[in-house]
Symmetry: none
Amino acid sequence: MEEHFKQIASLIGDPTRATILWTLLDGKAFTATELAIAADTSPQNISMHLNKLVQAQLLCVESQGRHKYYKFARKDIAYAIEALANLIPVEIDQKAKTNTIEVPVKYCRSCYDHLAGKIGVAVTDSLIDQKIIIDQGKNFELSANGQAWFTDLGINISGLKQLRRSFLRPCLDWSERRHHMAGALPAALLDKMLNEDWIRKMQNSRAIVITAKGQQMIDKHFKLPL
Amino acid sequence: MEEHFKQIASLIGDPTRATILWTLLDGKAFTATELAIAADTSPQNISMHLNKLVQAQLLCVESQGRHKYYKFARKDIAYAIEALANLIPVEIDQKAKTNTIEVPVKYCRSCYDHLAGKIGVAVTDSLIDQKIIIDQGKNFELSANGQAWFTDLGINISGLKQLRRSFLRPCLDWSERRHHMAGALPAALLDKMLNEDWIRKMQNSRAIVITAKGQQMIDKHFKLPL
DNA sequence: CCAACACTTCATTCTATACTTAACTGTAAA
DNA sequence: TTTACAGTTAAGTATAGAATGAAGTGTTGG
């Protein structure tokens, strides 16, 4: 056990790896190159360090085309890193406390046929919190509650399931670097939101605006005060 | 902030210093020579490392004649070290379970100032079963019954509550992967158990042995036949 | 197709810093 | 006193492992 502790400690102890972990603390996934820039080092070097962190199961990777997105393998890893950061002697600690306020949802976009961007991630998070969908890592599952919830919204679940396309799956978001929902179900949800005039698509852009009605309904259904 | 984090991380990252911190986890103060033996290195070397840890305010020193006693400067430092130990990947941990050398330490041990390991989890479970403490997930609460129970044991609840430190909180155990109690209350409980000679700390280890008297009393108070 | 890109692998170089050797201060017993 | 002990300081050395250079693989988009 002591040996393993020393292993973990020395893994975290290297300045470049410490910077990687620190950067990842904001919860987003980062590409290798981005982390290289953050840590001010070469791609080869960051590759070596990321490998070590993945092998120790501190980080996990997801390939997307020629990019690799890295993030913490488990939540408790981020917590332990934070605990370490809290060991910093009291004097410096003061200023950090001010910018921890939750960032408002302001950047909204759709991705092909479903919600993406900050709102896509926020909606997904909300449905997971409400146990409407279950996050199983590699895929999302619709719970029994969830079936009722979508049916209440007027979405025909069984109809969607008969389509040839994927019903529900996680999709890594370009802007947020977090998972949001993709597939027939979230497409139907976007459709619904547009039809009910909760949101409107901007011309010639993927940007989306939330209507006054939408603000109320999104708060009601997703428990997301905007 | 990031700079300071890197500093702390690299401080903990050195194997010799990691061993020092690991050794100090049992809550006792150690002399420089004892730590040198534990870390299997020279007095000069340990002196250098201890200096760095003291300067970073991770440890504090107390001189006593020609000896110097080192211990954690604050409790949260021990907790952060424990949190790091919890990051060890699960499958490696499996092998460790079969490794008989560590078993006694995992079974019965104290973590800084409170009971941990199997006995820590068992005691916690028992108190929850008996509704002496209430498990609220993120925190533990002492019930009305519980106040009486601890008072009967001769523990001064209101005195403990006035201390600046946390009174009672869950702490994840690295060996059991379950919650046990940490804070002023369980620290007082460990104190009581040592004073009454229910349990004894082993020399040079965090292992704990249960005395014959302890077996009876633990069965009586915690309904735990051992 | 090709060129640019994201990332990896491996052999080599480099360097930070842990450790050593040696000489010191202060404390405690004998 | 004297001897042994606990710990420190300073200067020099050694080496683990981080960084680099060169040469890959696989992906994307014009």
